[in-house]
């Protein structure tokens, strides 16, 4: 395994790691506009660059866990070549997983999600991170 860099964040009781190349930005979630008739996990839309707006979803709700505390940050990634956002509680940082030092294993927790969304668990420096393929999180 070659070295890979991840952006890490937390939501609920979970730490997540997403390959850094899959994340466009992480921004404040202060101005989400609710969509009339919107159903979970859709939270609303926010203004975004030349696309005008992007939809924002609750990451935890997508993964089958109720979101007790609204996320304060939005992780922006691509889905079908268009940007989408996911709320998370806090940004952990940027980590590098070394093929020679860090372990990955299959995920066996309670989170659910579309096939391919959760790709495993990364163990690094005593912490466990749920590895997400964030472009797959909204796949049906």
């Amino acid at each position: 395994m070659t070295d890979r860099r991840f952006i890490t964040f937390n939501a609920g009781e979970h730490n997540f790691a997403v390959p850094i190349e899959e994340v466009r930005e992480v921004v404040s979630s202060s101005s989400i506009l609710p969509v009339p008739g919107g159903k979970k996990p859709l939270l609303g839309i926010i203004p975004y660059r030349e696309e005008g707006v992007l939809p924002v979803f609750s990451l935890l709700e997508i993964l089958g866990e109720p979101e007790i505390q609204a996320g304060t940050l939005i992780v922006i990634a691509d889905h079908d070549e268009a940007p989408i956002g996911f709320t998370v509680q806090g940004l952990g940082g940027i980590i590098t997983a070394s093929g020679s030092e860090d372990q990955t294993k299959s995920y066996e927790g309670e989170l659910e999600g579309p096939d391919g969304a959760i790709t495993g668990i990364l163990e690094k420096a005593g912490e466990e991170y749920v590895l997400l393929e964030i472009g797959q999180v909204l796949s049906v």
Partner: protein
Amino acid sequence: MPERIVLLKMGEHTLSLPFDHVDEILGADRAVARDNLPEEVPTGDGSGELWVSSRERWLQVREFLPEIERSRNSQIIVITCEGSNWAFFVDQVLGIETASPPHPFPEAARPYTDFPFSGVRFLKGQPVLELDLSRLISLDIRGDQGD
């Protein structure tokens, strides 16, 4: 190029309609119960209870968002779409303003709302969702087909 829109309040939401499709804006007190309509008005087999006279036509008044109760500020908006006229209750008409041309409504969000949006405009820097009139009327089809 900015375009004119009609800005509506529906509960906690602010929505827009393209101004060119708005025919009239009337007070909700203009609505008439079906039983009180003139006999010659063809109400058909529709189940609507309230109707309004707009430019010598009687139109059934429908709800934009059924879960929102009407208030004393409620109004009726008469729209023209695909050659027909339609009347809807709205919570309140906030104004007629100019806004940016619409950006597309995000495709990823469509499966998560039953409401028909055609796009998103920006008014004073804030996004405003625009209703897709063609899809709105197709959800509850029966308008006045013209004279």
